[in-house]
């Protein structure tokens, strides 16, 4: 355990690896290890992603941030597979901010993590990187032993030539390999020969050890000589500005060094967190809220209901819904409403920055380097190339750290700039800052209408009302087309079901509340509305939730695949289980991954649903790490369940009511169901698993409640708030 491989810093990692690639951590202006060029001697760096030390360690520079979803392990698995490395010699660390080298191939010219893309966009790239390294190590051995390269084998990190009896480990060949030309075309393994990819039990996570003994280093753990800890008194409502402030009492707190106004509020600089917090509580700030969002959640929802009665922008449609409804013998209408949700990662936003007037060195859980790097540069008035970002492990994100406008990076730079280039700063958001600071999953309303005639759904209309967080940001051209923000309607425009008269309309409302993607984005609400409504229609027709869905499906067989697998796993015999318990079904595709879930639910004496067990089938194409796929399904189920049961940030006259975990109720261990996961065998290209576990759990639970003879909850969260 103690010797587990997670690097505490680049320097610690490379100590012992010939010492030539040195990542200097805290000194500003010091050059980061040039990831592009191999060191002259010593570590073998065949490409931007792999370092082989003379100590035999293979370090993978991972271009995706590790905040739980497993890219350290996943991307290293791809490399190790093609290198034929021994898993025990593998290490992972974050690649630095360098969009030229570390783009997310799914995002175009942008370095960043999100959309469950880490494995999908790295699958070929990292395998090629590994195969290239392997080819060069083999060539180095062939030249040293004067044998044909074709006769050399590699297995478990040992390069061997059977006929001559030669053997060498990677480290012994690293220096020679570093001198060879990089081959441009390497052959990848036949998947039938995989020893690690998709294999059970062959790979353990690279970060578990350090995350089990307190050694894992997060942003909040960064300290540097002379560093100041900074907290900000933020506005109480969105759009409010500082009118005046009095810092006399705050400056009297021992350990407080300065108080400065910054664009987002009043920043307190102190020697440590406690003096900063104490001083912040003593600040007397008057806020001008005249331009701030002052509506309550309930007022907004009223307005959304009015909008839902008017024609919206057509996001998708075919047939004639009005005609379908005319010939229906039975019609259904249902409104579903969805509250603001905070992401609430365990580690609130934080960042370290040392600006010396000319260059800046940042270290934080940076999810969008391509946005954060130029953002910091612009605030400080320096070139993006003068901003180095060391990417650190982050205590969760769920979308929170992926900021299209780089607002946290900007605030970090503003705090450094306001103080001046004499001392480094660590800006820390408290939980209260986190929960009241916006960037929520926006408020949504879905109005569903359908008609049934002759045992058939003859019309389906879904009207979605909400605010777009992409509008007015650099993401707008990518996400908003023809008046439709795709993140608001995904999951509602392309249903699994073949429906003859179908339409999905959208109303984009103005809002002063900053929104953001929240684990599974549009599917956080569309899957709930669609899957609850279809289940209600099936129930009205007396149909089985599994068989009824399968009969309705269109051409995509992978939906039926996950539905059949989950039914088998749960030994499905219908929604009724036994007195007081029922099972609900839901299926959703998000980010290319298909997930079906069955939830077994009862109603507890206190009126809250009790979710006993969840069965889950996932089809994410080719699987790299089956245990991480299962872990992400488990985690996605827990994260999604907590939100549908309890999650809500309610605005009262524009001000968030829930301020900490006492008000913003999150799922706890006694509320976590047992989870069983089956992975559907698939040869389709790999897709992600970080988000797709989330969408089906809400409707699966609601549909179980529906099968218990109650109404499916139409207003989330299911359990009304305590605050």
């Amino acid at each position: 355990m103690a010797d587990h491989p997670l690097p505490l810093s680049r320097r610690a990692l490379l100590k012992g690896a010939a010492g030539l690639v040195v990542g200097v951590f805290l000194a500003p202006g010091a050059k980061l290890a040039q990831a592009a060029s191999p060191a002259a001697a010593g570590p073998f760096a065949p490409n931007a992603f792999i370092r082989v030390g003379t100590d035999n360690r293979v370090t993978v520079l991972v271009k995706h941030i590790e905040f739980g979803q497993g890219p350290f392990t996943g991307l290293s698995t791809l490399v190790a597979e093609e290198m034929d490395a021994d898993w025990a010699q593998m290490r992972a660390e974050h690649a630095p901010a360098n969009p030229a080298l570390y783009n997310n191939l799914a995002f175009g010219p942008m370095q960043g993590t999100g959309g469950s893309t880490a494995i999908a966009n790295s699958y070929e790239q990292m395998r090629k990187a590994g195969a290239t390294a392997r080819a060069m190590l083999v060539e180095a051995a062939a030249q040293r032993w004067k044998v044909p390269a074709g006769e050399i084998t590699v297995s478990n990190g040992v390069v061997a030539h059977a006929a001559s009896g030669h053997e060498a480990r990677f480290g012994e060949l690293a220096e020679d390999a570093a001198k060879l030309p990089v081959p441009s075309d390497v052959k990848l393994k036949d998947p039938a020969d995989f020893k690690l990819i998709g294999r059970e039990g062959k790979v353990r996570r690279l970060d578990t050890g350090a995350k089990s003994n307190g050694a894992a280093r997060f942003t909040i753990d960064v300290y540097a000589p002379e560093m100041l800890t900074v907290v900000i008194a933020h506005a109480p409502s969105f759009g409010a500005k500082v009118a005046a402030f009095d810092d006399k009492a705050a400056l009297g707190v021992r350990g407080v060094v300065a108080v400065k106004q910054v664009p987002s509020g009043i920043a307190v600089y102190a020697d440590g967190m406690w003096p900063a917090l104490k001083a912040r509580s003593l600040l007397d700030v008057s806020w001008d809220e005249s331009a701030a969002e002052q509506r309550s959640s309930a007022q907004m929802l009223d307005q959304y209901r009015t909008s839902a009665g008017k024609p919206g922008v057509v996001a998708a449609g075919h047939g004639d819904v009005a005609k379908g409804l005319e010939k229906a013998t039975k019609t259904f209408t249902r409104d579903y409403s969805f509250p603001y949700l905070a992401h609430a990662p365990m580690e609130p936003l934080d960042g370290f920055l040392h600006w010396d007037g000319k260059t800046a060195r940042a270290a934080f859980g940076c999810q969008f380097p391509s946005i954060d790097q130029p953002t910091i540069a612009a605030v400080l008035g320096i070139e993006p190339a003068a901003v180095e970002i060391e990417i650190l492990l982050a205590g969760g994100s769920f979308g929170r750290r992926a900021q299209p406008e780089g607002d946290f990076a900007a605030e970090l730079a503003q705090v450094a700039k306001a103080f001046g280039p004499t001392r480094p700063v660590k800006l820390v958001w408290t939980r209260e800052d986190d929960l009241t600071g916006g960037r929520y999953r926006p408020l949504f309303l879905h109005r569903m209408q359908a008609g049934i005639a002759d045992d058939k759904i003859v019309a389906w209309k879904n009207t979605i009302v909400g605010a777009s967080f992409a509008k007015g940001t650099p993401m707008e051209p990518m996400m908003v087309k023809g008046g439709v923000d795709s993140t608001m309607v995904e999951g509602a425009t392309e249903l699994p079901y073949a429906l003859e008269n179908f339409s999905c309309e959208l109303h984009i409302e103005d809002s002063g509340v900053p929104g953001l993607w929240w684990r599974s984005v549009g599917s956080t609400h569309t899957a709930y509305a669609v899957e609850c409504f279809v289940d209600e229609l099936l129930q009205a027709q007396g149909l089985d939730p599994i068989e009824g869905r399968i009969a309705l499906l269109g051409d995509d067989a992978r939906y039926a695949g996950v539905l059949r697998e989950v039914a088998k796993l749960a030994d499905w015999k219908g929604p009724e289980v036994r007195a007081g318990r029922a099972r609900g079904v839901a299926v959703a595709k998000s980010f290319g991954t298909y997930v079906a879930q069955i939830a077994e639910v009862s109603m507890a004496e206190n009126g809250e649903p009790r979710v006993h067990k969840v069965w889950c089938a996932v089809d994410c194409g080719v699987v790299v790490n089956p245990d991480i796929v299962r872990a992400q399904m488990e985690g996605g189920i827990g994260y999604g369940l907590g939100a549908v049961l309890y999650g809500e940030i309610r605005l009262d006259y524009g001000r968030p009511v829930q301020k900490n975990f006492d008000g913003y109720r999150c799922l706890r261990i006694q509320e976590m169901p047992a989870v069983e996961v089956v992975i559907v065998k698939s040869a389709a290209p790999p897709t992600g698993v970080g988000e797709p576990g989330v969408p089906p759990i809400g409707p699966a639970v609601a549909n179980a409640i529906g099968r218990l003879g109650r109404e499916r909850p139409s207003q989330l969260p299911i359990v009304p708030g305590a605050v």
């Binding site: 089990s212 894992a216 827990g638």
Partner: protein, 153 residues
């Protein structure tokens, strides 16, 4: 004011205001960063440490109240229960983001020191003060059962 703290078997002088939570003395002064900040109001358990062996939220204990009591943090966690729990955490790859896991492990080890073979209900009671937003709860539960079994063997 200077306080004498006994942490992980060593004595430290910490210069701080009386109301300074133990959490910030541990982190900012002693640089024992395994103990994490998550809420500051004893709602999430990320800052769980031991006071004379009893689990407690360091964010809500003022440094002036520590007195002569001995503090143990994740960095000095030791003993058969700790080894079994950490081994089970590794075998099941419990952590995801990892931020809450110091606190989870502190609570889990404290449970096993008192209850050798905890039931699911015992685990619920001992662990419900520790939030995990990655919802690693299924594996936390399984790892505690597995550690208990290993200790019994």
């Amino acid at each position: 004011m200077a306080y004498t703290l006994k942490v992980n078997g060593k004595t430290h002088e910490v210069e701080a205001d009386a109301d300074t939570p133990l959490l910030w003395a541990l982190r900012d002064t002693l640089r024992l960063t395994g103990t994490k900040y998550g809420c500051g109001i004893a709602q999430c358990g990320a800052c769980t440490v031991y006071l004379d062996g009893q689990p407690l939220r360091a964010c809500s204990l003022p440094i002036s109240a520590v007195g002569k009591h001995e503090i143990t943090t994740i960095e000095a966690l030791e003993g058969a229960e700790a080894r079994a729990v950490q081994a089970a955490w590794a075998a099941l790859d419990v952590p995801q983001c990892g931020y809450c896991q110091s606190g989870q492990i502190m609570s889990a080890v404290a449970l096993l020191k008192v209850v050798k073979k905890p039931s699911d209900r015992d685990i619920d009671l001992a662990m419900n003060g520790n939030l995990c937003r990655c919802a690693t709860y299924v594996r936390i539960r399984a790892a505690i059962h597995s550690a208990a079994a290993a200790l019994e063997a």
